[in-house]
Symmetry: C2
Subunit: 333 residues, 2 copies
């Protein structure tokens, strides 16, 4: 078995072989049975569910692959809702001709993240389409978790002068993909930030009681997420460009190619709003995790600019930061 | 907005428009918020989860479309596990150029099934890939439900002489797809059986206490599912061909094309094993539902043929019915 063939999707013998030899070996756990689904037990009734489809291209990129991304992406969606991930499912759409060795590497990356988070893979499905009807592999994951605290996060509790914190450098994932996709070589060693943000968020929610909202700035980047926050609100957000952590290489690429770094995707970052009184405590917690050691207070809630995200630029000017409204780079996740 | 463009997948303005105008309108409910997931509340801790990816081709076929199939397929996976579906999520992968009118029709079919079952669409995601990188639309759904009874179904409780019942004619979906895909016109008016089997299963589980296992014979057909039952068991299954309901048109097509009807997919049928003592009660319940009025007792559990499915043919012979081991027809679901 070197390449995926159309018979691997027939639901019969070959599908069973594929599942036994590749999926089941990596994902084995007491919940995963040879049936159409799984029975799980959740005593806590505050269940959080999130789903995401992953079509990233190329499927292997500096810092990760589609498998790692499919698990961490859904874990992150639960984490930013204030939930601890417990169970995950995945639907695979495979293109005929996919190298089985690539599939194994992807599955292994998924299994590694699953184990690291002590979650369970509880249900899966695999379809195979003919050559040219999909692009290598698409993965859709659904995560199920429970709320860490008894109240969900929300925009309602946001007040003037609350601060906005980003957990690390922005634009790494987007620019790594951009370079890899276009075979550009700037002598730039940029890796995707593709990573789970669960553990720092868990620590923050345990220690800080005034976190208002958390989001992961994936597609559309930080600019889009901040605009989602302010939509329909009586307040806006002021961001100070010189406080936003951006790697020099990322800055260089954005300048060269005319891309706004605020619209470049991150896949291992989160942005959150917290009351001014707890900002130092939050920063101290973040500094303890290697993933979030570059966290920075980048701005504040401001009733001066309702429904707007205003960027105070490095050179002392001001500009409105908008949502992404064109496609810079399709298939970044 | 006539066709899906690559900017509909950017995560920014156009994605928001697509979600607002098409998805949100059809799926609106109190759980569906503009966040990365949903918080649901489940007091019953016996939760059942199932996931399935749908790549059916063509996306519109006699008797249904990929949207109806994506909802009923996952509802059926929960139903055959003895669960009542409560919540559903969907990940959409759209090919650039997809007609927005087609997408609307698909979404409407999904919404109709969702409403009919009084379930909630709680989380979704949409990705767009360039022309030629996918085929129109792929949908992955995940269903969350609770067990109808307090014990899960399982093969352990199966005994000699338990009976095997199929809920209706077999091979309708597979042959409808085959005809449509190959533009064959046999003057045959075959429609897919694409449908939810939840309501008859709910009624059966309420009234009958000796149902051992239920399955929906989708990919690989009835032959594959029955073989999954007998794997590693001390018993086998005897099936009587003249008791298996098959439409004349389906029989004709299978004879003409040399396809084994036992390997053709159904998408609105279930097969179950029940103790002999309750077979009449079960049949009476099934006769009350239009969807299952052609239900039939097709065979029995038999220790004479361990690990085998033996078919007593119409002409008085016997043959081993095996799992599907080639691909008759890719992308039937």
């Amino acid at each position: 078995m070197n390449k995926i063939t159309i018979t691997h999707g027939n639901g019969g013998k070959q599908t069973h072989e594929l599942i036994e030899e590749i999926f089941y070996k990596s994902f084995k756990n007491p919940y995963l049975k040879n049936t159409d689904g799984a029975i799980i037990n959740l005593k806590n009734p505050n269940i959080v569910v999130s789903t995401d489809s992953f079509v990233v291209k190329p499927i292997f990129f500096p810092g990760g692959n589609i498998g790692k991304l499919a698990i961490t992406g859904t874990i992150n969606d639960l984490a930013v809702m204030g939930a601890k991930p417990l169970y995950i499912t995945a639907g695979f759409i495979l293109e005929e001709g996919l190298e089985v060795s690539s599939l194994k590497e992807i599955i292994n990356s998924m299994a590694k993240e699953i184990q690291r988070h002590e979650i369970f893979f509880v249900a899966g499905d695999t379809k195979v389409v003919s050559k040219g009807e999909a692009d290598s592999i698409f993965i859709t994951t659904t995560g199920i978790g429970i709320l860490l605290e008894n109240h969900p996060l929300g925009l309602e509790s946001i007040n003037d002068n609350d601060v906005v914190i980003i957990s690390g450098t922005i634009g790494d994932h987007g620019s790594a993909l951009y370079l890899k996709r276009n075979n550009l070589d700037f002598d730039a060693n940029i890796e995707s930030d593709c990573n789970s943000v669960y553990f720092p968020i868990e620590a923050l929610l345990k220690e800080c009681k005034t976190i208002k909202i958390i989001r992961d700035p994936t597609r559309g980047g930080l600019g889009t997420v901040l605009n989602e926050f302010v939509q329909g609100q009586k307040w806006g957000i002021e961001i100070y460009e010189d406080q936003v952590p951006i790697k020099d290489e990322v800055k260089g690429i954005c300048d060269l190619l005319g891309i706004d770094v605020f619209h470049l995707a991150c896949e291992g970052r989160f942005v959150f709003v917290i009351s001014e009184s707890e900002k130092d405590k939050a920063m101290n917690i973040l500094k303890k995790f290697p993933l979030t050691e570059n966290a920075s207070i980048i701005g504040k809630i401001s009733s001066k600019y309702p429904e707007r995200v205003v960027l105070h630029t490095r050179i002392g000017g001001k500009r409105i930061l908008d949502m992404l409204s064109n496609e810079i780079l399709p298939r970044i996740c």
